[in-house]
């Protein structure tokens, strides 16, 4: 059992490592593909050699980033089978479909047309090349769509039913899986956050050009395109973030409570702006959850329920199964202890069903199936030992969420000021402090982006499928030492390639800043 738990931890670490490395490259691919496509469209319409040079410069950076994103992506797909084999069987009937569709409909499009994008300048017409560039951007976005549909389904499992004869879940409504509100909001939030990241990347690199006083016109034109893409991304990300918060409040209330460090909820719940968590705080005790906090009155109720006096449950409320109405009445829901009992009852019913099926006793099978169905929504709780096992790591979820929101707020200002400067106050772009802020925004936007995923994935622990399967029931029977070894190998390879990518990017940026841009016809 200890080895099993250790294998779970290391398998989680390996998946997190791969996912975080993958997410270093993918958002830049998603956003930069659009930025490059817009730039090439301008070139196509103006036939300006300068716009062609701008397009090719950013396309080179896109290409360096694209390859390593592809490399890390394939690992994620196969790790579902290699490290989470039980999961692959338990929900493969539903989860596999989006991955296959992604490959067939999106990844082929991306991989086919990216070759035209890089090598087709002299082989195809300008119109065909532009089409290929846009199709690469669309392919990358569609690819993200299906992956995010799969991820959203893990957080909000819909469109399926449990088949006791095969001991797995089977899909019964594809559209419910593909277009669940969680999937739609997650897709929009994630893809447009990629636009922000790429926009900030372009602003930061352009700021370096200006700082070095090299090819300023290239830099300002890039700021305009990158800034607009980033600004659009920011607006849509803010809107979808609000929708995502409502989704989380509705389908993953424990995650929301962890994001807020909220133990005892109330109607008109305040939103914690800045706070330090009390490290000694545990569910059920009387300690103050924060060492200090600055909160916005009724803010969380407004965000989570779109009502100033809406009730937001805390960790203790959820464990105890308590909700309040806006008039202050207490409603008893299903406590976590009851959920554990129901989960265990579902397991027992499944055992009974299996035995009855082996004996050919159809009456007993029907009775067991009915019992199972009545308790199945809490099937995963049957693997937990105590209600506290269903509480995610509070500190990591809480601080990651704050990091994402705070940096996001700062980036709104950076994009706004840089865009305004490029259009109305180009003199501001001579100010070194502003250029430094723009350059430093590049690492910040990556931290922001990673923090978003940490919030989403750590906050849903211990579930690999919300309420139905905890991580310890999802793994493969592999010795811990084996997973540790592959974890180290992945860490070594990814880190080596990340260092190489940064090295190449820096050289390409330097090369771009020294190109003979001014001599080109506009």
């Amino acid at each position: 059992m200890n080895d099993l738990i250790s294998t779970v931890d290391w398998s989680r670490a390996q998946f997190a490592l791969t996912a975080m490395y993958h997410w270093l490259f993918v958002p830049l691919t998603l956003g930069l593909a659009v930025i490059v496509a817009v730039m090439e469209t301008i070139y196509y319409r103006t036939r300006s050699e300068r716009w062609l040079a701008i397009t090719k410069f950013w396309m080179t950076l896109f290409g360096v980033n694209f390859a390593i994103g592809v490399a890390t992506g394939i690992i994620l797909e196969f790790e579902f089978g290699s490290n989470w084999s039980n999961y692959s069987w338990f929900v493969g009937d539903i989860f596999g479909a989006p991955l296959a569709i992604e490959g067939i409909l999106a990844f082929f499009m991306e991989a086919t047309f990216v070759a035209v994008m890089f090598f087709g300048w002299k082989k195809v017409s300008a119109g065909f090349h532009l089409t290929a560039t846009w199709l690469t951007a669309i392919g990358a976005t569609l690819s993200a769509l299906w992956i995010l549909v799969a991820n959203a389904w893990m957080q909000y499992p819909v469109g399926m039913e449990f088949d006791p004869a095969q001991m797995r879940n089977v899909m019964d409504d594809f559209w419910a899986v593909a277009f669940s509100p969680v999937a739609v909001h997650k897709f929009i939030h994630t893809v447009f956050s990629g636009w922000i990241l790429a926009g900030i990347f372009v602003l930061g690199v352009s700021a370096w050009f200006l700082y070095k006083k090299r090819n300023p016109e290239l830099a300002i034109r890039s700021i305009k395109v990158g800034g607009w893409v980033g600004a659009i991304g920011m607006l849509i990300t803010l809107w979808s973030g609000d929708n995502s918060a409502v989704d989380v409040a509705r389908v993953q209330p424990m995650k929301l409570a962890a994001m807020e460090g909220l133990y005892d909820g109330k109607c008109g719940q305040e939103l914690v702006g800045i706070a330090m968590l009390n490290p000694d705080k545990q569910p059920g005790d009387d300690l103050d959850p924060y060492l200090f906090d600055i909160s916005i009155p009724k803010g969380l109720s407004l965000l989570a329920t779109h009502s100033l006096n809406g009730f937001v449950p805390g960790i203790n409320d959820l464990i105890d199964g308590i909700e309040l109405t806006e008039s202050g009445d207490t409603i008893h829901t299903v406590s976590y202890a009851e959920r554990i009992a129901m989960g265990r009852q579902a397991h027992e019913a499944l055992r009974t069903y299996d035995a009855a099926m082996a004996a050919g006793d159809t009456a007993a099978m029907s009775a067991a199936a009915a019992d199972l169905k009545a308790n199945y929504q809490y099937f995963g709780y049957g693997y937990l030992s105590s209600p506290e096992d269903a509480v995610p790591p509070i500190g990591l979820t809480f601080y990651a969420f704050r990091l994402m929101v705070c940096i996001g707020g700062l980036l709104v200002l950076v994009i706004a000021v840089m865009l305004f400067s490029a259009y109305r106050r180009q003199g501001w772009l001579d100010k070194k402090w502003l250029l430094w802020v723009a350059m430093l925004s590049i690492p910040l936007v990556y931290v922001c982006s990673q923090a978003g995923w940490v919030t989403a994935e750590v906050g849903r622990q211990p579930w690999i499928i919300q309420d139905l399967m905890p991580v310890q029931a999802a793994i493969s029977a592999i010795p811990t030492a084996t997973v540790i070894l592959t974890f180290c190998l992945f860490a070594l390879i990814f880190t080596g390639f990340l260092a190489a990518e940064i090295g190449i990017m820096l050289r390409q940026i330097s090369k771009g800043s020294k190109m003979d841009y001014e001599s080109l016809k506009d």
């Binding site: 797909e77 084999s85 991989a111 195809v124 899909m171 190449i504 090369k511």
Partner: protein
């Protein structure tokens, strides 16, 4: 035949076609495995890299789609094989990571490790990727050491349904039958690689001479290995599935499958003839450069027929050497009828996808690469 059975067979055929495409596209790996040949000049290497570098994504994408399609249509295989033969699949993945970045990074300034290192990475992917993928497919005939017990999911202490031998795939890598097929696939890939380079590179007699020599050596080894593999396969035991779902080992199962399915036997023989003609034609006729298409098409046909032999005619396509009743068949490992139907609607778009890939391939092929126009793209 009921709808579910039809869909299961349809999806097995799609898996076969994807597998065929993957093996066909291994010509890229085959070409990479020649990169470190001492007889090659630096210009030769640039030519090889430039020619193969425009095609590597297709093979990589096909591998991703192959994995995704297997996951969606036969999830029990996905969970059993990937989670069980862990080292085999991990080594395949490691080798493919190396490929993905090497083309893009190798000649770029600031790449830290130097061009030579990335060429070694491509060589490793060429050799290891082909051999291990061949071994993974060989397990569909020669089996693996696993058991499947679905009730384990209710065991809180050890809830894993698919259990594998403690060596987790290392035993499969060193199994001589798997190794035979793995090395055979490597030699086939090198043969296809040589044929592709002969077709895609022009105006260089010296380069062609070297590739022809490579073709002769690799094709000769491949043909010998293929004959041995065919003999081993056709005399091997396989797992027969009874109408009640029970399974047992029977002698010469794959030979019987070929004889019971004459269409598959014809496809197999046509494929073999195609491969051999593709190899022979450029050697017999001086100046003929399109043997690649014959051998490539032949390879695809042989792979499709092998998948049919492995999965059809009441055969377990993934025999368990530990517990024969745990063996995987297209019936007991497939997705539900609903999911297979959904995926089948999606598969209607596959011809459209193939059409635009073919169109882009055609548009991007242009004139063959030659030393005169070798601008270092990678």
């Amino acid at each position: 035949m009921d709808t579910l059975t039809c869909l299961q067979q349809y999806w097995w055929l799609i898996i076969a076609v994807l597998g065929a495409a993957l093996v066909f596209l291994l010509f890229v790996q085959g070409g990479q495995s020649m990169l470190l040949c001492r007889s090659l000049t630096s210009t030769d290497r640039k030519l090889i890299i430039n020619v193969l570098g425009k095609k590597w994504e297709l093979g990589f994408t096909t591998l991703v789609v192959f994995g995704g399609a297997f996951f969606a249509s036969f999830p029990l295989f996905y969970s059993t094989s990937f989670g069980g033969a862990y080292w085999l699949w991990m080594l395949i993945l490691f080798s493919f990571i190396l490929q993905a970045v090497s083309y893009e990074f190798r000649s770029k300034p600031g790449n830290i490790f130097g061009t030579r290192t990335y060429d070694v990475f491509l060589f490793i992917n060429g050799c290891v990727g082909c051999t291990l993928l061949g071994e993974a497919v060989a397990m569909m005939f020669f089996g693996g050491e696993f058991t499947v017990t679905k009730t384990n999911i209710l065991d809180g202490a050890a809830p894993v349904i698919s259990q594998w031998a403690p060596t987790h795939g290392l035993e499969a890598i060193i199994c001589w039958k798997n190794l035979l097929m793995g090395v055979m696939v490597l030699m086939l890939a090198r043969t296809l690689g040589a044929l592709y380079l002969i077709m895609a590179v022009s105006h260089d007699e010296s380069f062609h001479r070297k590739m022809r020599r490579n073709l002769v050596v690799n094709a000769a080894i491949f043909v010998v290995l293929f004959l041995v593999f065919a003999a081993v396969l056709l005399t091997a035991d396989g797992v027969q599935v009874a109408p009640d779902g029970s399974m047992q080992w029977v002698a010469n199962k794959y030979l019987h499958n070929l004889l019971d399915m004459p269409v598959v036997a014809c496809i197999f023989l046509l494929g073999v003839v195609g491969v051999l003609w593709g190899i022979a034609a450029p050697l017999i006729t001086k100046g003929y450069r399109h043997g690649f298409w014959w051998s490539g098409a032949g390879t695809a046909l042989v792979v499709i027929s092998l998948f049919c032999v492995a999965g059809f005619n009441a055969t377990a396509y993934y025999p368990s050497l530990t517990d024969v009743q745990s063996s995987l068949t297209i019936t007991n490992s497939s997705s539900s009828i609903f999911t297979l139907k959904v995926m089948s609607w999606v598969s209607v778009l596959v011809p459209f996808v193939l059409a635009y890939i073919a169109y882009v391939w055609y548009k991007m092929s242009g004139k063959p690469e030659s030393p005169a126009n070798v601008d270092q793209v990678y």
